[in-house]
């Protein structure tokens, strides 16, 4: 049995395996599939609660992932953000001495969430410039009419 606490290395190795079998596009195809199938809860929460749905979704997932983060919601301005001080997933992959993370590991967060949020009228941005230190900045804004 693979524990859910062992998922991140399994996920990273899955990206590597799919790329070996195909190419980078095959990996992105898998991320699109996973976004459609797995993130239905985020989609539903945002459809019902608007941008607050992001707050509800990430409150649960980041708590369960024991992340080190600051999360902000300004409903009036239509803005939501996460400053990830230490990403538990990338952090684990960097810590493991016997595992080489998939080269574009953090890109999955860009593809999966963008695909859910942008069709719902939100602008999604992910600053991945510091992911080598397990840090990133996620921002979601209501698209102005």
């Amino acid at each position: 049995m693979i524990s859910c606490t062992e998922f991140i290395p399994a996920y990273s190795e899955l990206f590597k395996y799919i790329e070996q079998k195909g190419d980078k596009k095959a990996v992105v195809d898998f991320w699109n599939y996973l976004s459609d199938k797995f993130l239905t809860n985020l989609k539903d929460l945002v459809a019902i609660n608007g941008i607050r749905g992001c707050w509800i979704y990430w409150s649960k997932t980041l708590e369960e992932e024991a992340a080190d983060f600051t999360m902000e919601l300004d409903e009036e301005a239509g803005e939501f953000s996460i400053t990830m001080h230490h990403c538990p997933s990338k952090g684990k992959l960097v810590e493991y001495k016997h595992i080489e993370p998939y080269h574009d590991y953090c890109e999955h967060c860009d593809v999966l969430y963008r695909r859910v949020l942008e069709p719902l009228g939100l602008k999604y941005e992910l600053d991945r410039s510091q992911t080598d230190q397990a840090r990133c900045q996620l921002s979601v804004k209501l698209k102005k009419e």
Binding site: C4, T5, P9, Y11, F38, M71, L73
Partner: protein, 155 residues
């Protein structure tokens, strides 16, 4: 309309995100549908060879005790109900229900036809280059319950 901010530290919470079981299930199913049955085994072989290399090393030092300790730790994290019978040359593990399968089904998802490979292929690979072998004695597709046997390979 309100403004809210929250800051949390890693030490504030326990790392236990059960929905990762659902994501792994989708990964297994995707590989099966797009690359075939053998790809699922090849992927799990690659993953297990790399990820469990410290466990495989520990088996050469501590024997089956290393596997026993590994699964005791996993089952404790996953709050699984299990039973073990252990001797120097044989380890039998009985899992009443797989927390992964139970969680996947409880959230309305179909368990991949090859999800059992996360047990059979992974344990085969853990034992592959050790003096021990592995056999999946029973597997219940409905809840992922299983009975495993690890044993010393004949010289």
């Amino acid at each position: 309309m309100s403004k809210q901010t929250i800051t949390q530290k890693t030490s504030d919470n326990q790392y236990y995100h059960k929905d990762f079981h659902i994501a792994l299930n989708f990964g297994i199913d995707y590989l099966h549908r797009n690359f075939g049955e053998e790809a699922v085994r090849a992927y799990l072989t690659q993953f297990a060879s790399v990820y469990y290399s410290p466990l495989i090393e520990a088996i050469s030092e501590k024997g089956l005790l290393a596997i026993k300790e590994h699964y005791e730790n996993i089952y404790e994290i996953e709050k699984a109900v299990f039973d073990m019978s252990f001797s120097q040359d044989k380890l039998i593990i009985q899992l009443s229900a797989s927390p992964a399968v139970v969680h996947i089904k409880a959230n309305g998802h179909t368990v991949s036809e090859l999800f059992h490979e996360t047990v059979s292929t992974v344990n085969k690979i853990i034992c592959r280059n050790t003096p021990y072998d592995f056999e999946l004695l029973e597997y219940n597709n409905s809840n992922g319950a299983y009975r495993l046997r690890f044993f010393r390979r004949d010289e």
